[in-house]
Amino acid sequence: MRLFCFALSGSTVTIYLPIAELSVNIFIILGMGAAVGFLSGMFGVGGGFLITPLLIFYNIPPVVAVATGANQVVASSVSGAITHFRRGTLDMKLGSVLLVGGLGGATVGVWIFSWLRRVGQLDLFISLLYVILLTTIGGLMLQESLRAMRKAKLNQPLPLRRPGQHNWVHRLPLKMRFKKSKIYLSAIPVVTLGFLIGILTSIMGVGGGFIMVPAMIYLLRIPTNVVVGTSLFQIIFVTAYTTMVQAATNYSVDIVLAFILMVAGVIGAQYGVRVGQKLRGEQLRALLALLVLAVGIRLAIGLFIRPQDLYSVAVGGIGY
């Protein structure tokens, strides 16, 4: 409660983050959370992939940024998942199978994370992963939305993208019936997808919805109406699990930072949703694509330009 006192009294604008071990301007963190929350509400994404790079740009140690980002995604996914559960657009069984892979992936991911931290390559690896993912996905989204905008201009009806009901994924064994999604699908690609997303969650501090949703639609051919709710369901559990494991192994979840981000984020998201409803779908996607590309490019520049100092110092020796 003391946190509130400091924030409201206005006597000071800095707040000490006990785990990140530094003082930050509380309004910058609130603004960051609100802005990302706004965007996540507007575009229907979790926002973890924006929060983590922003925190890193604001000099929060990447170790803390990633673990805290995962914690923040739990909060932003819960309200979305509840809405989908009420509407009945959440496939529990499919979500649970995804979750099996997700928990395994998150475990492996935290192990990789700790190892990279020990050998001093963590920051580079986080940046590289972000650059690859953000520029690829941003590029693909931009291309797709521009094509849709051109089509809309020519008044052509948008083709329903469901070419061919079956691909190689549907010939795999271990098939299961998912009643809610009305599909009969092998558990192997579902668990594998969950596993890969789980790794990303623990290394990048993202929910992974921005990869999982397209993969579920285009690769697994899961009906679009259950995709978002189901992915949110699995994201809650994988990010919650990642938060726990990061807290236990790297002691890097900053509860104060996470709480400020969460509160600002869920409020910002409400306004984002309202603005999002007024904008056209393809315009919205083009905007999001540009944003994703911008963050990716900003991180890429950081990798290629000569750092101000070639040396860096970390407290602790090998095996800390």
Partner: protein, 266 residues
């Protein structure tokens, strides 16, 4: 409180100076010079609005020779050393256009923070060499590498980088002429603790030099503690990480769930 202490000290010192005045000029004073120090506080609390702190160290020289004092032959250096830990310095190199950490060196047990105040500019070229050998000052801190060293020739580069980065990050500070004489034998040193000061036991050290030779030194521990909520959070995070993680998740669940209730439209 400080002024009262000064008054107290000066009252005590009056007889001593009167006694010294009777000694003819130029004749060395009998007895060895001594040093006493006190700190304005022995505990610094890191609160949620912590933005760094100032520490005042005051002290008195005893049995000082007036003539040597007048010509400035006494030097007082006050340092504040943070808790010691290993430090890893890494060096980046360009690989396929990307800057990658390729080389590293670990220094054993170096202070995480270090600030220094002195009566004179320490990097003054006229500074007498014995001060340099006493291991006092950022340039003279022992930086001993440990473990496997790939290239001994690079050692000096890594040491220089360590000092440069620590200074740039504010954890190492040198404040030249931060020690001021309040009277002929009373002095006051101001040291600055940065906002990112590590918690733990710090050590305040005062060194007295005569003509560049270390005469005596005194030390006082200073505890830097996280207080209240900060302390509770750090303790829980490290001692009960599972419970802490669970709490983080619960807070997130409640925040998300609360938002879905507060902003529910139907």
């Amino acid at each position: 409180m400080f002024s009262r202490f000064v008054l107290f000290l000066s009252l005590m010192l009056v007889p001593a100076t009167q006694g010294l005045a009777q000694i003819p000029m130029g004749e060395p004073s009998t007895g060895k010079e001594g040093l006493d120090i006190g700190v304005s506080t022995n505990e610094i609390a890191i609160t949620s609005d912590f933005r760094g702190a100032d520490l005042t160290v005051f002290g008195a020289m005893t049995n000082a020779d007036d003539l040597l004092l007048a010509i400035g032959n006494y030097d007082i250096i006050v340092t504040l050393e943070g808790p010691r830990d290993y430090a890893t310095v890494r060096k980046k190199e360009r690989i396929f256009g990307v800057w990658v950490n390729t080389d590293s060196m670990i220094f054993e047990q170096v202070p995480e923070s270090y600030s220094i105040a002195s009566t004179r500019q320490l990097d003054d070229p006229t500074q007498l060499p014995p001060i340099n050998t006493a291991g006092v000052g950022i340039e003279h801190l022992a930086l001993n590498p440990t473990g496997y060293i790939r290239d001994v020739g690079e050692l000096s580069d890594f040491r220089a980088a360590y000092r440069r980065l620590k200074l740039a990050g504010g954890l190492y500070q040198k404040e030249a002429s931060g020690v001021r004489f309040v009277s002929s034998s009373l002095f006051r040193a101001s040291l600055r603790l940065p906002a990112n000061v590590p918690d733990g036991v710090h050590i305040v050290r005062a060194y007295l030099f005569k003509s560049g030779t270390l005469l005596t030194q005194r030390e006082i521990p200073l505890r830097v503690v996280k207080t209240g909520l900060e302390q509770a959070i750090t303790d829980t995070a490290h001692n009960q990480p599972f419970a802490y993680g669970l709490l983080c998740v619960l807070i997130a669940l409640v925040t998300g769930w609360g938002a879905s209730i507060v902003f529910r439209k139907d």
